[in-house]
Subunit: 426 residues, 2 copies
């Protein structure tokens, strides 16, 4: 029961009046606040500028003597593999360094499976039906790849410790057309959830009917902590091996939110057999990725300690922003039974659930008061949130003062929509 | 008739003896000379180092205010589009800036057509048969993409002014399964030929049976002149438009052999309609390419004059290497009727044709004397040169002294193989 449904009609009308006054006061400010995407803020990007000032002569030769300015090295400089293998907790033989975008690596992996299959399987484009499991709410760009290639998406509920594994286990065991599952296993987009050890173990132990089923493990936020007590994610590749499931998982990550979004280094980790399969067509696709940028990142960070120290500085900028969001949500919405949200230990988002069938209306009200939110529904396949309740809040980009206003407007909108709903239900 | 077939048996044996003595003298030197790929040499790469020393603060903001360090800009910074549109002689609306590799753009374009079709056409993977015309000798990496995707390759003869257009016109008009044609229209790989205006006009006027037929115009060497009187290539996009064939061509290029192979900027030009079709799936594939590297290149070159001045410096390094190759070929093989070759005005290769059925044997002999050549046959689809005669010489990478030895060994090998052949035919 929501706070509003316990009020008398007069009390409710008076509440709505108060909320509308606050709402209109914001509206009159003609604000333009963009909360759509999980982008780092300017101060975060300032932190990495030194990477670009490493003198060219220090970038010329890789440790093995490779001239980084010339062609060669398909799958990454050895020292780049070493650095990011440490970050992803895999062996150097289990990593490929890509270009500037892990999204592109994921897209390519699916495009390749569509045209060429996986390790000798029938190309997915030759099959009548290909399906992916989509724990939701999730990352809209994952879902967009499936939609582009005509891959049918099956929503799986996200619980507090990861996807609903009872459902996942049952579905993949029964249906050979299910070829993949999307996961953002740490500080998930948007829920900020880190999969529990049990969930990781159950994923690693899956017995999919399709031999070419793969878990797309987008570990985008592996080192993106907000707290001094960061979440620990169990190593999926190790767990897969322990289950004789070595080829089950493709792991993706990048430095997009460590150094430069769109000008960092992306990477992919998997079993040696999986990577050899990928190298075969990657060798036809490109002569190699940008080695100079790889070496820049290695020279700057040196090792995982270097990355972690850098991430602490990011946290120092981001933590106050997340705190503001959580504080305003608590002040405005706490205890009212009209919304719930998580308190993430890392990542880029706060995920807000309104009452059912309210998110689109909240998005609309917020927009009319100058706050552009990620489209309601975007966190679900085909943009359709079955309960129309999830709103992804991206606190990182706006300055604190803007963020405060935006979250206040959002919170007022949630209250207004909930109160009006209670009124219409009287 | 070759020089050797006019000799008496004794004269021929004496010639072979002399050649074998020279050959063995080289063999004893235990040389290791790699002539396989068209890679710039170290001095060429030195020329571009300054690009990497532009201070980070000058790379932060694009002319339109875009923060180049953050996400955004799918298809290239406006100033990068302007610079490379000038280079490719197209409008700014007719260019997309990609990542670090034009090969990757070409691969993606074919992968996309396989999975998604072109401007609404049936995806090529759904068709029984897809074929490409492959003017040959040509670029082995083009052919490798077709082979990977199971696209059947049809060899078209390269004449002195481009592909045999009588054959091309007839084939594309008759066969709907012919979906593309590879072209390296300027300083072609490996022949060094620039297509004549007539050939460009005939390509632009093609009436292919398949609406989704595209010419893949790999203008890799557009500004890569070796002479003060560079070849002029007629503008294909303008010619296509003049024929109402606006969507016929995809143009590709990159700065790989202008600045850094594998760490430069790649680009694609085409009609606005073609590019809009590509942007639709590109927006799903990536958030954007490396804008910082785009801005680096723009700041350094400023305009086409900047690029041309830079290319003059490349020519100063490369011209003496090409001259050495041509001089030794003339001295060793000239007038003997056993080989022919071109004298390119630009590009990266000299293409040598031996007598029929000699190229593999020449490759083998050269290898035994320490010279690794591009695999004989590599310049034809499926690695099969029907006349086994074409050898691609890549003079750019080795230092002049090594190059001299390598071409001398190659030339002696050509003579030996030709002379032994004459002997066995006696």
């Amino acid at each position: 029961m929501s706070f509003y449904s316990n009020l008398s009609k007069n009390e409710l009308l008076s509440e709505i009046d108060k909320l509308e006054k606050r709402y209109n006061a914001f509206k009159e400010q003609n604000l333009k606040l963009d909360m759509t995407r999980g982008k780092p803020c300017s101060e975060q990007l300032d932190m990495s500028m030194e990477i670009l000032d490493i003198p060219s002569k220090e970038l010329r030769k890789a440790a093995d003597g490779t001239d980084t300015f010339n062609y060669g090295i398909l799958d990454g400089l050895p020292e780049a593999k070493a650095l990011f293998a440490e970050m992803l907790e895999v062996d150097k033989s289990e990593i490929i360094i890509g270009g500037n975008s892990s999204l592109n690596l994921m897209y390519d992996t699916i495009a390749r499976a569509m045209s060429l299959g996986i390790l000798g399987s029938t190309p997915w484009s030759k099959l009548d039906k290909v399906k992916f499991l989509c724990p939701s709410p999730g990352y809209d760009r994952h879902f967009a790849i499936c939609e582009l290639f005509g891959i049918e998406m099956i929503v799986v509920e996200m619980k507090q410790d990861g996807p609903d594994m009872d459902v996942v286990e049952r579905l993949v065991a029964d249906d050979e057309s299910i070829k993949g599952m999307w996961c953002v296993p740490k500080y998930s987009n948007p829920d900020g959830i880190t999969y529990s050890d049990e969930v990781v173990d159950r994923i690693a132990a899956l017995k999919p009917k399709a031999a070419d089923f793969r878990v797309f493990w987008d570990n985008a936020y592996c080192v993106h902590h907000l707290s001094d007590k960061p979440d620990k994610l169990k190593n999926i590749l190790t767990a897969c091996k322990a289950n004789g499931n070595d080829n089950l998982v493709y792991i993706f990550s990048s430095t997009s939110k460590i150094t430069f979004p769109g000008a960092g280094v992306a990477m992919m980790a998997a079993s040696v057999e999986n990577l050899n399969g990928i190298r075969k067509s990657m060798a036809i696709q490109t002569i190699g990725h940008d080695k100079i940028n790889q070496l820049r990142h290695v020279k700057y960070f040196k090792n995982l300690d270097g990355i972690n120290a850098h991430m602490k500085k990011h946290a120092n900028i981001l933590k106050p922003k997340f705190d503001i969001v959580l504080q305003i949500l608590e002040e405005e919405l706490g205890g009212k039974g009209i919304a719930s949200w998580n308190k993430p230990n890392g990542g880029y988002f706060v995920s807000l659930n309104t009452l059912d069938n309210c998110a689109k209306e909240v998005e609309k009200l917020s927009l009319e008061a100058g706050v552009v939110l990620t489209k309601a529904g975007a966190t679900f396949p085909y943009g359709k949130d079955p309960r129309d309740r999830n709103i992804r809040i991206a606190p990182t980009l706006p300055p604190v003062e803007e963020l405060k206003k935006a979250i206040e407007i959002l919170s007022i909108s949630v209250q207004l929509v909930s109160a009006r709903k209670a009124l219409s239900n009287m």
